[in-house]
Amino acid sequence: MADIQSPLPGTFYHRPSPEDAPYKVAGDAVAVGDTIGLVEVMKTFIEVNAEIAGTFAGYQTENEAAVTAGQVLATLDQ
């Protein structure tokens, strides 16, 4: 199990926009560099990208939740 942490504080989104599907669902393959979510900081959207490869296990932080830097957003199975 590997953790994907938030690089910054802000608001976490699972989806590119409210009308889109979430970036990943459990079971999806994740390659290095894949975007798994967005953190909105001071009106700017920052992509959260996977730094290792694996299989998406699930989001650990709810959609639109406030997050701190370092908070675990999602986990990967390897």
């Binding site: 504080p9 802000g10 900081v41 001071m42 406030a66 830097a69």
Partner: protein, 471 residues
């Protein structure tokens, strides 16, 4: 003064600004705040504070019902909306009116009319104020758009009637592009603003953004001269000046007079700004839109005239007449404001909501720093990145730029990364010194690496200390 208890429905530096103005007028202040803002400076300065909801703006500062209920409960007789958030919402103004609470701004009808950019354009034309050549009103069909474009000439800007502030704009270089972009622009506008209406304007080449500050009491209006705001990144102003050094006196006079005519024609009450595009090559100005609120950059106008715009807007919205006649408003010297944002200018302006460590602030005659910082304050990540405005005033523009460079060098905010290095680099730039820029100048300057070059040049000078990552 009929206003006795003022509710401030905003945050950050403008909330502090409003509290200071109100307290000087002897008015009791009630500060609204989200859960994430319980520690903000405005809360500490106000006479009372009220929590209006969780961190997310949509559930707090933008939640009309919550804000109105809180103001009512606190026994407020007036609400100041600041800028952004609900400050240009006719629904908010109406809800306050229904609750029997005064609104520090113009009537809901005026906000609504000037908020519709087509109606505002038509009001300007009716008042004899020049507008950018373009469509008479909303364009009904793509064929109509093509006809208008043929008359005014390409390139044209396709603009959303419910847009404003640089949003909902597409540029078409020819008819084929126009026919492709117009339907897209309409869908986007519908989705973003709930109104797909469009209008057309000729795209002015390398315009300067010049705006005029006005004050009105519902009958009479006066101007407080103009501001030069062409230095913008992603349509956000970063550096603003009063006055616009590129204008000769006759043009300035005509520009400011036109703003007063328009403000009076709509019975404007409060502080407002009329924005124009200025075509230096033709020495022509064109009205583009009106902002029916106080603006971020209002301090530069205050510095060159001595007028307190926030106090004046509170007074007139409390029922008083304007305390100044036009002949009482004289301008002197030159003022420059630079926006200090919590962003890393060397990392594509990445947001940097750090914790404020030791602060040393520039002081002296003609130096003003409007902010909401204190040692130990944790900047929240949920709102925009503006953390302060550094304003200088001097007898000439040259002296103001020199004073600005000195003040920036004296500004030390430990624990933060800010856009101060950007402003230092701009102050040292020859084009900026010559006043030789326009709305399309800053972004190419940044892309060409001028900021990085300036940073290298000043390497060796102490940088503000940083913590190891945001907390």
């Amino acid at each position: 003064m009929t206003i006795k208890r003022l509710f401030i429905a905003n945050r950050g530096e403008i909330a502090v600004r409003v509290i200071r103005a109100a307290q000087e007028l002897g008015i009791h202040t009630i500060q609204a705040h989200s859960e994430a803002d319980a520690d903000m400076l405005a809360v500490r300065l106000a006479d009372e504070a009220v929590c209006i909801g969780p961190a997310a703006s949509k559930d707090s500062y933008l939640a009309i019902d919550r804000v109105v209920a809180a103001a009512k409960q606190a026994g407020a007789d007036a609400v100041h909306p600041g800028y952004g958030f609900l400050s240009e919402s006719p629904e908010f103004a109406r809800a306050l009116e229904a609750a029997g609470i005064a609104y520090v701004g113009p009537s809901a009808d005026t906000i609504e009319r000037m908020g519709d950019k087509v109606a505002a354009r038509q009001a300007a034309e009716a008042a004899g104020v020049p507008v950018v050549p373009g469509s008479k009103g909303r364009i009904a069909t793509v064929d109509d758009a093509a006809e208008v474009a043929r008359e005014v000439g390409y390139p044209v800007m396709i603009k959303a009637a419910a847009g404003g502030g640089g949003r909902g704009i597409r540029i078409a270089a020819d008819e084929a592009e126009l026919r492709k972009l117009a339907p897209q622009a309409q869908q986007e506008a519908q989705a973003a603003f709930g109104d797909g209406g469009l209008y057309l304007e000729r795209a002015v080449q390398s315009p300067r953004h010049i705006e005029v500050q006005i004050l009105g009491d519902g009958e009479t209006a006066v101007h407080v001269y103009e501001r030069e705001c062409s230095l913008q990144r992603r349509r956000q102003k970063v550096w603003e000046e009063a006055g616009a050094a590129c204008l000769d006196d006759d043009t300035r006079e005509a520009l400011c007079a036109s703003a007063v005519v328009l403000a009076e024609s709509v019975n404007y009450r409060g502080a407002g700004t009329l924005e124009y595009l200025y075509d230096a090559a033709r020495n022509e100005f064109y009205f583009i839109e009106m902002n029916t609120r106080i603006q971020v950059e209002h301090p530069v106008s205050e510095m060159i005239t001595g007028v307190d715009l926030v106090q004046e807007m509170i007074r007139v919205c409390g029922g008083e007449k304007l305390s100044l006649r036009q002949q009482d408003i004289a301008r002197s010297g030159h003022a420059i404001e630079v926006r200090i944002n919590a962003e890393d200018p060397h990392m594509q302006f990445m947001p940097w909501p750090g914790k404020v460590g030791a602060m040393r602030l520039p002081e002296g005659d003609g130096i003003r720093f409007d902010h909401f910082l204190y040692e130990g304050y944790q900047i929240p990540p949920f709102y925009d990145s503006l953390i302060g405005k550094l304003i200088v005033h001097a007898p000439t523009r040259d002296a103001a730029i020199d004073k600005l460079a000195g003040a920036l060098a004296d500004l030390h905010l430990e624990g933060l990364k800010t856009t101060a290095p950007l402003h230092l680099a701009l102050a040292a730039d020859k084009d900026v010194r010559a006043g030789d820029f326009h709305t399309q100048w800053l972004e190419p300057w940044l892309e060409a690496g001028n900021l990085a070059a300036a940073a290298e040049k000043s390497a060796g000078k102490p940088e503000t200390a940083t913590t190891g990552g945001a907390s």
